[in-house]
Symmetry: C2
Subunit: 253 residues, 2 copies
């Protein structure tokens, strides 16, 4: 019996010593690259099917801590911006019923009913090194418009996460957490357009964004691209935090 089989067997039989039964968490991790909103997905070893990264809650660990642990394991990042958005508690959602039969443990805590706490998270794409967990063999970014068919209700989890992200766009520092340190105004605009699924007027967008008084224009421009070189901006952290406290409204649409 290989090391993987051994580990899996122990996890299936005794995982509930460390973890709370019936409760899991799932994280929809958003990144932004090539003017596209992306989601990080895992491919399971045995089945080849894709899922959102998730995990279980240690017996003495808060839910947020569980989510942060999962996020760190999959992305290598700590201090990730994350938000709980919904609990999925359909009695028919069952984790691993099919997937673990092969092992021959007919009875495992993991085959019971699970409710899962959904989180969405924002990461800076370039800083992430996607890492599969021990149950999966791939961890990869997917364009949010081209998500494959996922296990259980994970497609619906991604959809709901995207809705939650849209609603948060007005009062959460979404741009701040998705973009690299410096970025151009058109890039910021694509970000908003991709998340909202609409196109916005270039000039009005810039006006509104600058009026928030949270951006700082850098002396350099972004070179290398074709056409006129756009200015580079970064978020002015002090102004940003002051504005967030006062209740910033990024209101578009």
């Amino acid at each position: 019996m290989g090391s993987y089989e051994k580990k899996l067997r122990e996890f299936l039989l005794q995982g509930d010593r460390n973890f709370l039964p019936h409760i899991s968490i799932d994280c929809v991790i958003f990144g932004f690259h090539d003017n596209q909103l992306k989601v990080l997905l895992l491919k399971w070893k045995d089945q080849g099917s894709w899922s959102v990264p998730g995990g279980f809650v240690k017996r003495k660990e808060s839910l947020d801590a569980s989510a942060k642990r999962v996020l760190k394991e999959r992305t290598g990042l700590k201090d990730i911006f994350l938000r709980q958005f919904q609990v999925f508690g359909d009695p028919h959602r069952e984790r691993g019923k099919k997937s673990f039969k092969i092992i021959g443990t007919s009875k495992s805590w993991i085959m019971d009913r699970f409710i899962t706490v959904g989180y969405w998270a924002l990461v800076e794409f370039s800083k992430v090194t996607p890492r599969p967990d021990w149950l999966s063999d791939e961890c990869q970014w997917w364009d949010v418009q081209q998500i494959p068919s996922l296990i259980y209700d994970h497609n619906s989890i991604v959809t709901k996460a995207l809705e939650a992200l849209r609603l948060s766009l007005n009062d959460q520092p979404v741009g701040y957490n998705l973009l690299p340190q410096t970025f151009t105004m058109p890039e910021l605009q694509r970000l908003y357009e991709t998340i909202l699924g609409v196109s916005l007027d270039r000039r009005n967008f810039q006006k509104k964004m600058l009026a928030l008084d949270v951006l700082e224009r850098l002396p350099e421009r972004k070179t290398g691209g074709a056409h006129k070189a756009p200015f580079l901006y970064k978020f002015d952290k002090k102004k940003y935090e002051r504005a967030m406290q006062k209740g910033l409204s990024f209101g578009f649409q």
Copy 2:
């Protein structure tokens, strides 16, 4: 041993045959009466402390169904408007640790760690007959401004529910679910003012509200009060649903 003690003993020892362990739900039930926003609270038999109505999730029951069951038991109403708003998963929140010692069952599923799914619900005050559950001896409305000290983290649950309600005020049919069939414009205004915690201009409020085109003015006026008799209104269900689908915005503030 009395019937209550017997029931309690069985519940503590074997409740997890019917219910999922580690998971509970709590419902913050809002009503509106005497121009005040109210919350329905329970007083526990043994301790005399107050809490939000809650319950557990049956093994084959969805979370929403659990919440609806609790709401029906406490208010007598079915088809209640409710929304999940947050999960409270601090490892230190413990249900009933103190309260059940007296019974002498040193080990019960109920003394384990619990995570709880928070729901807020809107009911029409006059239709509710508050009913205590078998663990409590009072079930009573409290003014939202004068909530007493509650068990565990229930004060924070109420606060968060109120915040969630405020945020929903713009796109959820809050007035529709809190007010009786017919109501006056000033009453509707008090509702908004109480929830938002601000005062609004009478004339602009009426204009904005009527512009939504979801209200129907009735031929009668509300008589009996002092001063000029205000008109009665009701929500026009068809218009209302059409407007909700299109994404109604009750935007105030």
